[in-house]
Subunit: 184 residues, 2 copies
DNA sequence: TCGCACATGTAACGTGTTACATGATTCA
DNA sequence: TGAATCATGTAACACGTTACATGTGCGA
C-alpha cells in the first residue's frame, strides 16, 4: 500500500463531495464560479482526478439515470475517503507552507468544518497566526537587506507581499479571538 | 516561427539575467534564499529552462573556465531576449490575472525597472489598483451570497482572501501616489 | 578520509492545459 | 435548423518534482 498522497485538487474534490455528493459537472460549475482555491474547472483535470479518487477507494461513483438527460455520475466520499480527508485537515504545517503554500492552508481551513470541532479550527488559526508573524519578519529582513541602489520596483513588489501577509496575520489573530469568545 | 510564450520560470530567469549575467547555479541560490516568485530552485527545473531559453535564442551561454573549479556556464540575455522580456513587462493584464495570477503580476512588477520608465510602472500600478478594487467587490458579493447556515470556516477562508486583496489595493493606491509625487 | 560546497546535468513520473469528441435535450 | 446547455470523456503535450549521477577542491 503506502499510497501516494492525493493532490490538492483531489482534496478539494473530496471536500466538496463531503458537503454534497455530486457529479463532475457540478464541481466544475463550482470551480468556475467561486473563488475556491484557484482550481481549474477544465474537464481534463476534474474527470481524471475523480477517477483516481475512485480507483484509490476514496470516493464511490453511482450512475444516476433518474433524469432524462445524459446520465450523471454522482460521487460520494467513502469511509476511507473521509478518514484520509480528516487526516489532511489535521496535519501539522510547516513555516514553508506559510511562505509558499498559503492558499493550500486556506483550502484546508475552508473545509475545516467537517471536523466539527471549533477548538481544532482555533488551534489551526493560532499556529497560522504565529507562523505568519514570523514570516513577516523574514520578509522585512529581506527588504532591509536590499542593497542601497536597488530600484523601487522590487521594493514595491516585496512590499506588496509584506502588506498582504500583515493583513493575513491581523485576520488570523482576530479570528482566533472571535472563536475564543463565542466558542467558550 | 510564432514561438510559444515562455513560462513564468523562464521570464524569471530572463529577468535575473538582465540584472546580472550568471550561471544556473547562481540563480538557484537566489531562488533558494529570496522570496522571488515562489520558484523552485531544483536543478531539474532550472537547467532545462535555461536550455530552452538558449535554443529559442533568448539567452546566450558562455563557458567561463577562468575559475579552477568545474567550469561555469554563464548566461546573458540576447537582443531578442531583451525585446521579448520588455514585451512581457508591458503586456496588458486582465481581471482574471488579478484574481488568479496576482503573483505573476508581482513578478512583472519586480522586474519593471528594466523598462527604466517610472510612468509605465505607475500606469501598471494604477490599473492594478482599480482591478483589485473591482475584484474585492466580487469576493464580498460571494461572501454575502453564502447561504445562512454556512459554517464559519469557509467564511473565514474567504475573509482572509478579502483582507489580503484589500491590503494589496491599499498598497497599490499608495504606491501610485508615491510614484506620482517623486516622479513629477 | 569524510563530507560539504561548487556546478551541471539526466530520467522517470505525474499532473494540468488545451483541444477535441460525443450525444441528448431545449429553445429560438 | 442551429445554437446553447447538460454531461462525460480522451489524447497530445509540456512542465515541474523527485531522485540520481558525476566530478573538483577545500576544510575538519
Amino acid at each position: 500500500m503506502a499510497r501516494k498522497a492525493p493532490t490538492n485538487l483531489e482534496y478539494a474534490l473530496l471536500g466538496l463531495l463531503h458537503a454534497q455528493p455530486q457529479s463532475g459537472y457540478d464541481v466544475r460549475k463550482t470551480f468556475a464560479t467561486t473563488a475556491i482555491g484557484n482550481y481549474s474547472s477544465s474537464p481534463g483535470a476534474i474527470y481524471p482526478a475523480l477517477r483516481r479518487l475512485e480507483s484509490n477507494g476514496l470516493v464511490t461513483g453511482k450512475i444516476d439515470s433518474s433524469t432524462e438527460l445524459r446520465p450523471r455520475k454522482v460521487f460520494a466520499p467513502s469511509r476511507k475517503g473521509r478518514a484520509v480527508f480528516r487526516q489532511w485537515l489535521q496535519a501539522d504545517f510547516t513555516p514553508e507552507d506559510v511562505a509558499k503554500k498559503f492558499d493550500d492552508l486556506m483550502l484546508r481551513l475552508a473545509f475545516h468544518g467537517v471536523l466539527d470541532d471549533l477548538a481544532a479550527t482555533r488551534d489551526f488559526l493560532r499556529v497560522l497566526a504565529t507562523e505568519t508573524d514570523r514570516y513577516i519578519e523574514d520578509l522585512e529582513d529581506q527588504l532591509r537587506q536590499f542593497p542601497e541602489q536597488t530600484p523601487i520596483q522590487p521594493r514595491l513588489a516585496l512590499g506588496s507581499g509584506i502588506e498582504q501577509y500583515k493583513a493575513a496575520a491581523r485576520w488570523a489573530h482576530q479570528s482566533v479571538k472571535k472563536l475564543t469568545e463565542d466558542g467558550s
